[in-house]
Symmetry: C2
Subunit: 857 residues, 2 copies
């Protein structure tokens, strides 16, 4: 980048004589950040004073007048105050400068209103394109469309004395980025070779918000106020091309919408309002100019009077008018607007403060011992943007903090910020078009599209039917009913019951399953899993454990090596395999292992266990397992060879095979299904969680044609009589169809490998290995979106009820990483589209805190 | 209404000499329909030819030019065609008339382009306000702002000869309602005393669409085309004040959006697009005028190129320009637009046709014997608007039909069209703001607001905690776990297990429940219900029925009388009560019955049954029942006195009481909860279905403080370890909070009685009684939103597997009523806000078809 010589020149300015103009310029081109820096989460957003975004439904509706009016109403009083006006993006500069306008009008109004307290006003323009710099400093050597943004750093200041000569109130106006062309910022940036990345705009806004008011007297409440004025309409592109309503979304500042009082303006105002709502903004007031059409009436009625619509007097068309009289006439409206804004702010703060107490009073959280959760432990989540929570922290001086949702909200989350916005529109669309529709014997587009995508995707090559339900647990209950029926069919037992639905239960049907398995919390799903902390009498008095539960061999990374761990029952006879290791994770999944001796040993172990199972206990009517990873059981990687052998043994005995892919499905482990990793297919599979992208509950049980046919007959009583009211609900199916496509499309998911069948490695391999050899770490698994590690722990520090990891995770919260443990197992989980850079940073943070943790233990 | 004398006068028209002007006027004021007629569902909407709504993101963006361009591109060809241009709402008339503009431009273009085929163009203005009539006919006696709309019926016609003198192509332009003032329709209508109800606008559009093209040559495909041009922006109010995007929603015609090519136009176009999507519209193309700002680039990128953005040449500003050259220049763009519109239409039709076949191929519907469902039985639901489905019918000449969702989509539905639109915005907002957030130890606004509303509403006076889950069945499983723990606590048995979570199951815990009960399809919920069609071995091999199931006395209306029916076990000893009747439904619920002999008989019956229950079978650890109505069991009204006595007996024995209000909750039976009807409260209650208004699955289990406390301790293992990934998901809680408030607010629910505690009677009492004495009817229940009747039936015609009602319900489908039977029980279900008029019409239709049905049986 070239360095340009500064040249002093004076900017012409408005007709306020008291101005003192300071010009400081340092012509370094502004560094555009690398994509990696996008990964860096935003820092703190202070909530100590009201900060509003000023939006408009179109250009030229008077946003800047509204900003100036708010500033005047707030600032010009006896009390000492500070008002911060931020204009992140300005085009048409220097002839247009909204911050200069606010600066000059406020200066003029301060003088006109003969104030008690002095006012010190400043206007500061920070960065500009080369053309804008050249135009602002016409005598300078600089010109042309050079690449980058440059420090213009022009500054003007004006002090208006009040009746008393105490400390002045302050008006701080700032333009952050300016371009010369009076067009949309994305065009100006392109034409003037002055592009700015979103992260730079956000970072600059944040620094201004953090530092701009960081002075002694800010401690007093309600003496500071900030507005951030957007450019053009709410969905006008910012300098990078990102729509402004999307660009500023991570802050989710409350909004003032400057609407349109003209003919046709009702429509534009309502649409703009809806676009803001679709992105999760709260609109605190709508302001329109009076055009004699009483647009405020239909607007008020649309808003059900829950958002005030304020009407400004008609704005003089005469450009020579200094607007002083207009500001006087509009004063009451602005006073009322500021009152609304102040009270909305304090109500928000009040609510944020009271939420933890209310939460511990009225919620009954699942999987939570309330005795162990105090008010201080409660996290107030103000919003989510893509993978990040915006968390409110009282203790931290009232800030909103970004925290990466490192447990993917119980393993459900997939969307990045872009998908979230598109899903918002789609959820609105699905509600507007369908609401919910009854499913049986009906067809509607989202359910059909979703079923088609499932059968062509995760069910490809084997599944022919989609049975929808609400969550993983119900999908499992349905799967079990399917499997047992299929089993009775295949074993010639169906005719015993077909004409006598209430026949004696002369066969006890049992499952074959693995210890450490977990399939959900409803009784049927629990009965299919091995005894665990979740199944004790105190938890589920009706649990009996209807299965033969085999302990599986597992694989894990430890000390830079992938190790095989055989269960006790297998070990004794196979000492030779006790020390098997793998050179890589790929080797673990290699199907050539099918020819190994170990495969034979697995096979005879399984055959032996099945043969030993007493007939009196029942018949094994289904195999059920989580392919590859047992998640709730502690993130264990079961030896894929063992699972493949298990499938093959069961298939040879006509025992239907159920894969529980509720956790593993949809790229969780790097491929769309875990069955791809296993290189074998089930007869029945259950999906949920990530299927909707993580927006609403929806689950599906896929089945083969022959499973389906075991329910076909002439009586309704032979049909599968299981259903939930919201089966195949339109919102869920819409979200699922969208997300399934999004994750597997290289246009939207840049993590896909070239052949589109798997994700690239998200967790830096070197760092993963490094962590695996950390003394505090017992074992590590890194696959797809999952990184997990088990802390070395003994006694009560190990297991599900352990709180051993608590201090580690608390530290990570300070680093902006939200995690929850499974006892002494901690994990990080990204979405399928999360950039490897972000994952790398998460892992680094974890590694650093691990070090600290092990020193203290 | 006054009758005005017709006066002949000639309307000045444009500069096309070949026009033949016909004026016909009949000055009767147009009848504004009564509110009852709103209830009348819309008739058929033909899909035989493409029909599009032309929308615009603002006024004056060239909607009419686009309409004219589409008309020219489609119509002016060698083939014989017909183009219908509809302008439902025109203000500024007669100086502004968009239909006249299209008429005259097309006439001029036809002449200019020297066509092979003649064109016959007509323009017809149907109704106008008195001022508009006076202005259109300045010589007339009529003037002033008289009330109503009047038949202007002005007609002009023009035939442009082609090279050959065959049958002409036709352009039919129609303005339906015109006002004089060039302001928003709602203002013009108000100022000119010419209001028109939404149903009139819709009815008129529909008649035009149905009849306007109803001529011989319409049979050939793709020779007709229609555009309906809206007024102003997409959310500009129509004449009644309803926003146009809401007004036209029942048709859900595909949309062309005329966007804004100017500075700021990207924003307005995107927002308008989003407002259309939020209402379930499909936008097929966006058209903008070229202003040199390449707005099509960011628009295309926003739309991910899935919707084409077409750019029209810049429109001449000179008002004297006849635009002929512009139309020539724009011809290729319009040709491409028409091509897009034609192909989108045929793709839609193709998909609608193939959907039934695909559905029977890939879906596995719940509770459905697929052998009994053929392609022809499948209902294609194109959309929902409030309580109505829009159903596509192939057999009926490709139409979209409105059908009232008479089973409330498995008892979930509550929203009217207005609530649906608000929920669409709220679902978009919740997704945009939160997506889904992990619940345990966290708090976010929708979950907290929802919990607060639940505890202040349906849980008022007893509940202190809200436990969220996904559906009724999971809520029941949670309730059972709560009840059993509480029972163990209260009976001093907790300490047996508290330190040994894997202790022997030395107590068998059982429920006390009623025969005919139904609590959901997961195993735990099923175990708590009496044996039924759903519980046989073929359905659920693991079902054992863990309860003491009592047969309850029921109450029903038959032959104009409310009768009590005692179960067999009670009858023998109480012949005296065999013929108890009630003078009214209110008497059934009267708590003074607590003092009756019957109460004592109930009490001793229950005590006797409990005493007889062998201890070897287990301990009764919970009472579970559906208060008032057993729904899935066949819509039986259990004697409320019996349920009250049951509660009181159990309470005296410290047996926790669970109410399953999944069906009955949220106004289903006319009060917010059925426990209000029973006049007693439970310890635990489950809600679902209608809770979210019927948008997404969400359920809650409410519990008292003391139930909660039986899970509080120092170990996580004592906590309730049951949860689903989407516990308290933000969309569900947002929808629930909105719907709960909507239904109980007299501002939004006009069905509330003055004290706001109950709904007014929705089902006409006289007609209900009449039906109860119909010979085909065995019994009737009418309460709140529910009307049900059991058909007289014997043998296999009775019971759940019966298909006896099939022919009756098929006939009702023809009447636009969608119902599904429970065997020989048929029912109608409205939403809590559905107007009594609509309910009355539904009941009338049912009554008429019942007559027909009984004659054929």
């Amino acid at each position: 980048m070239m360095l340009l010589l500064p040249t002093l020149s004076s900017l012409s300015h408005h007709h306020h004589r008291r101005h003192v103009i300071l010009l400081r310029r340092l012509f370094k081109p502004f560094s555009t950040t690398s994509s990696a820096s996008i990964a860096e989460p935003l820092g703190n957003l202070p909530l100590t004073y009201p900060t509003y975004l000023i939006w408009s439904s179109n250009t030229s509706l008077g946003k800047t007048l509204v900003s100036a009016g708010i500033a005047a109403s707030f600032l010009l009083s006896r009390q000492r105050k500070r008002f911060l006006y931020l204009k992140p993006v300005q085009t048409g500069f220097p002839s247009d400068s909204d911050s200069r306008f606010v600066f000059s009008k406020l200066s003029a109004l301060s003088a006109r209103r003969k104030l008690f307290r002095s006012v010190l006003a400043t206007d500061h323009v920070l960065k500009a394109s080369s053309s804008a710099v050249a135009a602002a400093l016409p005598g300078g050597v600089y010109g042309g469309n050079r690449f980058g943004m440059f420090d213009l750093d022009s500054h003007r200041e004006c002090r208006i004395p009040g009746e008393e000569d105490g400390e002045p109130s302050e008006l701080i106006c700032r333009t952050m980025f300016a371009w010369r062309d009076a067009v949309s910022p994305h065009l100006a940036a392109e034409r003037e070779n002055g592009t700015v990345e979103d992260s730079n705009v956000l970072g600059m806004v944040q620094r201004c918000l953090e530092s701009g008011l960081n002075c002694g007297f800010d401690e007093e409440k309600m003496n500071a106020f900030c507005v951030v004025e957007t450019a053009g309409g709410i969905a006008s592109p910012g300098p990078s091309g990102t729509l402004q309503c999307d660009l500023y979304r991570p802050f989710r500042l409350p909004a003032i919408l400057v609407g349109d009082g003209r003919l046709g303006g009702i429509s534009g105002t309502i649409s703009a309002y809806e676009s803001l709502k679709l992105r999760g903004y709260d609109v605190v007031a709508v302001v329109i100019e009076d055009h004699g059409l009483v647009n405020e009436v239909p607007l008020g009625s649309y808003l059900r009077q829950s958002v005030p619509v304020l009407v400004l007097p008609s704005i003089p068309k005469d450009l020579s008018d200094d607007l002083m009289e207009w500001f006087d006439a509009a004063r009451a409206v602005f006073d009322s607007l500021v009152k609304t804004m102040l009270s909305a702010h304090s109500e928000r703060i009040k609510r944020l403060h009271e939420m933890p107490k209310k939460a511990v009073d009225v919620f009954w959280w699942p999987f939570t011992q309330h005795n162990l959760v105090s008010e201080e432990d409660v996290t107030v989540i103000d919003s989510r943007c893509g993978e990040n929570f915006a968390v409110f922290k009282v203790q931290n001086n009232n800030v909103i903090n970004q925290e990466f949702d490192g447990c993917a909200s119980w393993w459900t989350q997939g969307p990045d910020a872009t998908l979230q916005t598109e899903l918002a529109r789609d959820m609105g669309y699905a509600t507007g078009r369908y609401g919910h529709l009854m499913f049986p014997e009906n067809v509607y587009e989202p359910a059909l599209e979703c079923a088609e995508l499932l059968l062509e995707g995760v069910g490809k090559g084997w599944a022919s039917r989609a049975y929808f339900s609400d969550n993983g647990s119900t999908a499992i209950e349905i799967a079990l009913k399917m499997a047992f029926r299929k089993f009775l069919c295949d074993h010639g037992r169906l005719s015993d019951f077909v004409n006598d639905n209430s026949a004696e239960r002369c066969i006890q049907l049992m499952v074959l399953a693995l210890t450490g398995s977990y399939h959900g919390d409803t009784l049927g799903a629990m009965e299919a899993q091995a005894p665990s902390s979740y199944t004790g009498f105190l938890q589920q008095p009706w649990y009996t454990g209807r299965g033969l539960f085999l302990s599986p061999p597992t694989v894990f990374l430890s000390n830079n090596t992938w190790n095989l761990s055989l269960p006790e029952g297998m070990q004794s006879n196979n000492l030779i395999f006790a020390n098997i290791t793998f050179s890589s994770r790929n080797e673990v999944f290699d199907t050539s292992r099918d020819e190994s001796n170990l495969a034979e040993i697995y096979s005879s172990f399984i055959a032996h266990e099945l043969a030993q199972y007493p007939e009196t206990k029942g018949s094994i009517g289904a195999l059920i397992m989580e392919p590859v990873i047992q998640a709730a059981g502690g993130m264990h990687l079961v030896d894929p060879l063992f699972q493949r052998v298990l499938v093959s043994v069961c298939r040879s005995k006509s025992i239907p095979i159920i894969f529980d892919e509720v956790f593993t499905g949809f790229w969780r482990l790097g491929t769309e299904t875990a069955s791809e990793l296993l290189s074998c297919v089930p007869d029945i599979a259950c999906f949920g969680k990530l299927m909707t992208g993580g927006i609403v509950p929806l689950a599906v049980t896929l089945a083969t044609k022959s499973v389906f046919e075991s329910f076909v007959g002439n009586s309704k009583l032979k049909a599968l009589l299981h259903g939930h009211s919201y089966s195949a609900h339109a919102l869920g199916c819409t979200a699922a169809a969208k997300s399934i496509k999004w994750f597997k499309d290289p246009q939207t998911n840049s993590n896909l490998n070239s052949e589109g069948r798997s994700l690239k490695e998200l967790w830096d391999e070197e760092l993963v290995y490094q962590i695996s050899s950390h003394p505090a770490v017992q074992r590590v698994i890194a696959m797809g979106t999952l990184f997990s590690l088990e802390l070395q722990a003994e006694g009560s520090n190990a297991g599900y009820a352990s709180v051993y990891a608590k201090s580690l995770l608390k530290k990570l919260r300070e680093d902006g990483v939200y995690m929850r443990p499974l006892g002494n197992v901690v994990y990080l989980m990204s979405g399928p589209c999360t950039s490897p850079d972000i994952c790398h940073q998460l892992l680094l943070k974890l590694y650093r805190r691990l070090d600290e943790f092990s020193k203290n233990h």
